[in-house]
């Protein structure tokens, strides 16, 4: 890694030759300096992955060491065949569908609400500081505590505030049983909309006030100002929010763990919850590892796709300028 290769392109004069040597020396030194971080990154990311790959080829339930044995790709075969099988016996297909639904749903709605909140607190009005703090608060509440609050204080059919408020309308929905998916998305949005608001607010505040003033002088309406100036400027911030939101929300399990335990049926079983159930609660290390590997592959595919779209959008934006 650190051995300097002989330079094939001979320098035409001393000056550039010295520069080349210097660069080489720096590169070589740089590599050594980077090495600890690089090795650390390999150890903490690749080593566990290799162990997971290894584990996934075993029939291995921690509770039954007597039955542990190498089974090759059988865990994968079972999992993948269950994906196309109508019974979906590992609830893996349901978990993929739910993960995508929850993530996309929560990210899109959080972004819209975040945009609304950001636009609101970007204007001066009395009590703005208080409102801004209150809007951010949900993001600061511990996820487990907020899930418990949603379950017992908000959505409970007997003691919940939502049903109490809906009572005069003659509505009495049982949130977590009748609308489990919607309920989970509501909890996720409540938690993540403030995050989007923070990112978008930062974007809005970086808009030059002079530009705004100029359009106002030109007689633009509030909506024209928003759609013509604010929104285009926010493009990159929206992309950043969507990307970070996806990365974080796809991992959310607290709300599901505390309220529905993945049910009823498989309606709220997501990928992380499914892996937790299999590997930790069910002690089935082999199958849990196989699920993990498939999720990594799916994530890489999805992220490559997403990043490419983002990249194209970014380029398009720069081309506009």
């Amino acid at each position: 890694m650190a051995t300097a290769e002989p330079d094939s392109s001979q320098a035409p004069n001393e000056l550039t030759a010295n520069a080349a040597i210097d660069t080489r020396r720096y590169t070589s030194l740089g590599r050594w300096l980077v090495a600890p971080a690089f090795i650390y990154a390999v150890i903490v990311t690749q080593a566990p992955f290799l162990v997971t790959l290894y584990d996934s080829t075993f029939r291995w339930n921690l509770m039954r060491p007597d039955r542990r044995g190498f089974i090759g790709l059988e865990n994968y075969r079972n999992l993948l065949s269950s994906l196309v099988d109508s019974s979906d016996s590992y609830a893996f297909r349901a978990a993929i569908v739910n993960s995508v639904t929850f993530t996309v749903g929560a990210v899109v709605i959080s972004l819209l609400l975040g945009l609304l909140f950001a636009e609101l607190v970007n204007h001066r009005f009395p009590g703005r500081g208080v409102v801004r703090t209150m809007l951010i608060t949900p993001f600061l509440v511990m996820p487990v505590a907020s899930a418990l609050g949603w379950k017992n204080l908000m959505m409970d059919p007997d003691f919940g505030i939502i049903n109490w408020a809906l009572d005069p309308l003659g509505l009495d929905p049982v949130w977590l049983s009748q609308y489990p998916r919607e309920s989970i998305i509501i909890m996720l949005v409540w938690r993540w909309a403030p995050f989007m608001m923070l990112i978008l607010l930062a974007g809005m505040q970086s808009i030059d006030e002079e530009v705004r003033e100029a359009v106002r002088v030109d007689g633009a309406t509030r909506w024209q100002e928003f759609s013509g100036i604010t929104l285009p400027h926010l493009g990159r911030f929206i992309q950043l929010g969507a990307l970070l939101g996806t990365v974080y929300i796809v991992q959310e399990t607290d709300a599901i763990f505390m309220t529905t335990q993945g049910g009823p049926g498989t309606s709220t079983t997501t990928l992380p919850f499914r892996v937790y159930e299999t590997a930790v609660r069910g002690s089935n290390i082999g199958m849990g590892a196989a699920m993990g590997v498939i999720i990594v592959v799916l994530t890489i595919v999805a992220m490559t796709f997403l990043l490419r779209i983002l990249d194209r959008m970014l380029r398009g934006q720069y081309a506009d300028r």
Partner: protein, 462 residues
């Protein structure tokens, strides 16, 4: 160099001084003990660092409060208690025990795990040394508890701390107002009729029952009900029996009962949620663990205490119920087995029950394990409404005989094999979907029957 030597010397001397001080302190204790006539016949010089992991149920929290008493008795043992909520600590304990990591010396395990850990050789026999101590009064422990916590070799591998079965709680005032009488031994059919009659969609509901997915939540009352109807999970060859006529009748009865006369949103109700509904006066009946009786009987904890009635768990084809205990097991990898045994003996002794009663009151004692607790006038007075009933219910349970037909597994409210966790979780989730109104019961039964067969094949039972 010389500096180094000096330092070593100093350390050595300091060590010697420390040892000397320790020896003096030890002598002092022995002397003090000899002076006191009521000194227990235990070797209090046992030493070591003891790591104990416990589920944070109220009984264990009480133990945490009283840990100072143990320390006073065994001053050379350093006791580290790790007390965490059940969901969190259970996974950690299971991982620690099964990988033989040896992070803990003593752990609380349930009836579900005890026999299996013993079979794998992860825990040691505690029964033999406990039996040898006449002060411990081993025979005082309920035989059902000993049998359920023993390994296949008949030795006890976990000492029961507190135990429970299940019973039916009901509101005497609502029954009186409706002109109904609860029989001493109700059947599920009768319970269904009572529930239908007493049910008010805006509360109080006819009955509250668990339906939160999970083998230990929804799974427990469901299995007990299925057993009562003459059903079982598996036949002797591990063929699923969930779709058999009797099992399906029990399952359908349970889901129908909840749909027609149960609490709304039952699929998020576990033990705690049901207890809250009952305490808030939102339930006419509730079937659940007998350990709730201690809480329901206390007017300070339950506003309905004066109107709470207690009855046997409902029967149908046969009487049924469940049996559970939290018990202390010692890991084989523990380096301080002697100290661990001293702790287990202290925490599960008769003296400990008295200690809790004296210091924290009878409501906090670990009950359901020793006959002497139920014979104690203090507990008799405190638990006048239910002590005898609980005693007779626990006495009637036999984990080896859950069902009308023979089964290849032990366990009343679960299938006593370690892999049952995943099956129990998926089956209850599927049935929760029925209660939520998204699936027809017939389709769900076909699905769970397939699941159970596939599970049996995958885990090498079929």
């Amino acid at each position: 160099m010389s500096n180094d030597l000096n330092r070593r010397d100093v350390v050595k001397r300091a060590g010697a001084v420390g040892l000397g001080a320790g020896a003096v302190a030890k002598l002092g204790q022995v002397y003090a003990q000899d002076a006191s006539p009521a000194a227990p016949a235990v070797d209090t010089s046992i030493s070591g660092e003891l790591n104990v992991a416990m589920v944070a149920n109220p009984q264990m929290v009480a133990l945490e409060e009283l840990a100072g008493e143990f320390q006073a008795q065994y001053p050379n043992i350093t006791l580290n208690l790790l007390v965490l909520p059940e969901n969190e600590i259970r996974d950690r304990i299971r991982t620690d025990v099964s990988t033989q990591a040896g992070q803990f010396d003593v752990v609380t395990i349930g009836m579900f795990e005890a026999a299996d850990y013993a079979l794998q050789g992860w825990t040691i026999d505690v029964g033999t040394p406990l039996q040898e101590d006449p002060n411990y009064d081993y025979a005082d422990i309920f035989p059902a508890m000993v049998s359920a916590l023993s390994g296949e070799d008949g030795l006890l591998y976990a000492a029961p701390f507190y135990g429970e079965s299940c019973m039916l709680y009901y509101r005497t005032d609502l029954f009186e107002a409706a002109g109904l009488t609860m029989p001493e031994q109700p059947t599920w059919t009768e319970i269904g009729e009572f529930a239908a009659q007493l049910h008010n969609p805006d509360g109080p509901y006819g009955i509250v029952l668990r339906a939160l997915p999970g083998w230990g939540e929804f799974g427990a009352p469901l299995t007990a009900t299925m057993n009562a109807f003459g059903g079982r999970w598996f036949d002797e060859d591990w063929n699923s029996q969930l779709a058999s006529e009797a099992s399906a009748a029990g399952i359908t009865f349970y889901t129908d009962l909840l749909i027609n006369s149960g609490q709304p949103g039952a699929t998020t109700s576990g033990f705690t949620e049901c207890q809250n509904l009952f305490n808030q006066g939102q339930a006419a009946m509730w079937m659940d663990a007998t350990s709730a009786a201690d809480l329901l009987g206390d007017p300070e904890l339950n506003p309905q205490a004066a109107n709470t009635g207690f009855a046997n768990p409902p029967s149908e084809e046969i009487g049924s119920g469940w049996l559970w205990a939290w018990a202390f097991a010692i890991e084989r990898e523990s380096e301080h087995q002697e100290a661990a045994l001293a702790f287990v003996k202290w925490a599960t002794s008769k003296d400990y029950v008295q200690l809790v009663a004296d210091r924290l009151g009878w409501g906090s004692v670990p009950s359901g394990v020793r006959s002497s607790t139920y014979a104690d006038p203090g507990y008799q007075e405190y638990a006048a409404g239910f002590a005898d009933l609980v005693l007779s219910i626990i006495d009637a349970q036999d984990p080896a005989q859950c069902c009308v037909d023979p089964t290849p597994y032990k366990g009343l409210q679960f299938v006593g094999v370690p892999e049952f966790v995943t099956l129990g979780d998926s089956v209850t989730r599927e049935l929760a979907d029925v209660i939520a109104g998204n699936t027809e019961i017939a389709d769900a039964i076909t699905r769970i029957d397939d699941m159970a067969n596939q599970w049996a094949v995958e885990n090498g039972y079929q």
